[in-house]
């Protein structure tokens, strides 16, 4: 059947239905506004907003970013306006668009996660929650929620109790066995899993012998980390049955397709937005072109077709 119609690129992540598998990654697209002049937000699979906490957060003192080979380090420190201001000031803007809005949330205690989740579940125009569990658990002495399967499961469960929305749990790559964490949050009720968050790294300024980042360490993102992200997505898709969202170093449609072929149902584009504000649009078009060139009618036909 020859056809000139565009391939079908909608994907379903359980209850969450997306126009296409391309989302923005949290913290790299502001609250949507920052790129609305560059990108037609209506064309995105979803907008994942900057991580939200219960109270506004000041963030870390500068310098907060540093370039590295093929990537960058950031220690923004989750600066954000807080969940209430988000709902009041930012959500109305996003509601004007026909796009899925995913609120990335984070807390320092189980209770904070729950409260943020509850507020967002009640707000109009949020389609899913994404739990950032890479941040330090203050009750647990600052060890990340995401590095212990039990703690990761508990925070997932806590949020699931409050949230009527689909809950995506976003995993940190700074662990020995990411599949174990993925299985734990799946069992605890996660509707989907996204990965990876940034790898922890640092850089030293030879002139001052100080860290380039005031926070000393920061999160490494960009194409430098793509091989690690792919490996971790592969480890996770083999072990869980909930939808997986691939993140890490995606710059082009080819990069995105690698994740989809491995079995990710969708992808997020992060650092690439900084370098090329049109990155998301180019990835969407490039996926379509690949499907057309390979005579594939539906993007779902390539998801998980990896031949190890």
């Amino acid at each position: 059947m020859k056809s000139k119609t565009s391939p079908q690129i909608a994907v379903h992540l359980g209850r969450l239905k997306l126009k296409n598998p391309v989302m923005t990654a949290s913290g790299t697209f502001g609250y949507g506004e920052e790129y609305a002049d560059y990108v037609d937000l209506n064309r995105l699979g979803a907008v994942v907003v900057k991580g939200l906490s219960l109270k506004p957060r000041l963030g870390n003192p500068p310098p907060r970013i540093m370039e590295t080979t093929g990537g960058m380090l950031n220690a923004v420190g989750l600066q954000n306006i807080g969940v209430d201001a988000f709902i009041e000031e930012k959500l109305p803007f996003l509601r004007k668009y026909d796009v899925a809005v995913i609120a990335n949330i984070y807390g320092e205690t189980y209770d904070e996660y729950k409260k943020v989740a509850k507020k967002l579940s009640a707000a109009k125009g949020v389609h899913a929650l994404e739990l950032n569990i890479s941040c330090p658990n203050v009750k647990k002495g600052g060890v990340s929620f995401g590095s212990d399967p039990k703690v990761a499961a508990r925070v997932t469960q806590a949020v699931k109790e409050e949230a009527s929305l689909p809950v995506i749990v976003k995993l940190t790559p700074n662990v020995t066995d990411i599949a174990v964490i993925a299985q734990a949050v799946e069992k605890a009720g996660a509707d989907a899993i996204s990965l990876i968050n940034t790898l922890t790294g640092m850089a030293v300024d030879l002139k001052t012998r100080k860290p380039y980042l005031r926070n000393i360490t920061g999160g490494l993102s960009g194409p430098a980390i793509k091989p690690v992200a792919l490996r971790m997505v592969w480890e996770v898709v083999k072990k869980v049955s909930v939808p997986v969202i691939g993140i890490g170093g995606i710059m082009t449609a080819e990069d995105a397709l690698e994740f989809l072929i491995l079995g990710a149902k969708a992808v997020q584009i992060g650092t690439a937005n900084f370098i090329n504000p049109h990155a998301t649009m180019e990835v969407i078009e490039g996926i379509k072109d690949y499907l057309t060139a390979n005579k594939i009618k539906d993007v779902n036909e390539i998801i998980g077709t990896f031949q190890p």
């Binding site: 913290g27 000041l58 003192p61 500068p62 907060r64 370039e67 080979t69 093929g70 950031n74 937005n273």
Partner: protein
């Protein structure tokens, strides 16, 4: 949905002083006319190393028949500017801009004072051009400081347009042997806060000295800040500067989107 990434074609890229280059870039006519103090994010098309775009102020801008000409004045300080310096005529660059909020220029005092350190002259030159055209009756004074004679650049237009240009060098190889902020301080009594507008751009140390000098007074001083940037569009929160917010408490604002121009009084120096 109005902003674009422009493919710029380099029509000139020349070392005009030691380690200091003037680059002329042709972009499509749809490029928005920049305000003084605005900047562009520039990168070499298709190259991932260096990874991030670099922020550079718009030094000059003109519209031609069917394109715009952006001029950038930049100093080679590291990898990115080194590679920029190596670009030949005809090479392509990606330009995102104009970005940020320029200087407030709707009204100025009788006296307008510009204080520029080193390559900080770049946005000042465009500002001087703009203000002297729009406020021909104001008295424009530039204080410019550089390390040494071979680092003095960007004075062509200021020397034509300003009433008074004071040049200082650290080693006295050109003009007065002094720090630019001290040169200004010596003259300060000549200016009345009520009818003077001050604009400054330069290294952090210079701006901090200026803050100390102006500390007690009531001068209105706008400064353009620099900070490492990733996105240049306000999304990454990477380019934070500590300022006093409306409630007079510390907040981090974005140099790229809330600045790069700030009121000197609002900046919290650590």
């Amino acid at each position: 949905m109005a902003k674009n990434i422009y493919i710029g074609e380099i029509s000139k890229n020349k070392e005009i002083q030691e380690d200091c280059f003037l680059m002329k870039v042709k972009v499509a006519a749809s490029f928005e006319t920049p305000l003084p103090g605005q900047f562009v994010m520039i990168r070499i098309a298709g190259l991932n190393d260096p990874f991030l775009s670099r922020p550079i102020s718009i030094y000059s801008f003109s519209r031609r028949n069917n394109f715009c000409l952006i001029e950038l004045l930049y100093r080679v300080v590291g990898k990115g500017t080194q590679i920029m310096a190596g670009l030949i005529e005809g090479s392509q660059v990606e330009i995102n801009g104009p970005l940020g909020n320029g200087f407030e220029i709707d009204s100025v005092g009788k006296n307008v004072v510009f204080i520029a350190g080193g390559i900080g002259i770049a946005p000042m030159s465009l500002l001087i051009e703009n203000l002297s055209r729009r406020f021909p009756s104001s008295l424009m004074t530039l204080y410019f400081g550089a390390q040494r004679e071979t680092a003095v650049v960007g004075l062509d237009k200021p020397q034509k347009l300003c009433h008074d240009v004071n040049v200082c060098t650290d080693d006295g190889s050109l003009g007065e042997k002094n720090l630019v902020t001290q040169a200004f301080q010596k003259d300060m009594k000549k200016f009345l806060p009520a009818n003077t507008s001050i604009y400054a751009c330069g290294p952090r140390g210079m701006l901090l000295s200026l803050a100390k000098i102006l500390n007690k007074g009531t001068f209105n001083c706008q400064v353009s800040l620099e900070e490492r940037m990733a996105c240049g569009t306000g999304a990454c929160m990477g380019c934070a500067v500590a300022v006093k917010d409306k409630k007079n408490t510390l907040a981090y604002q974005r140099v790229c989107a809330d600045g790069p121009v700030f009121n000197l009084r609002d900046i919290i120096w650590e």
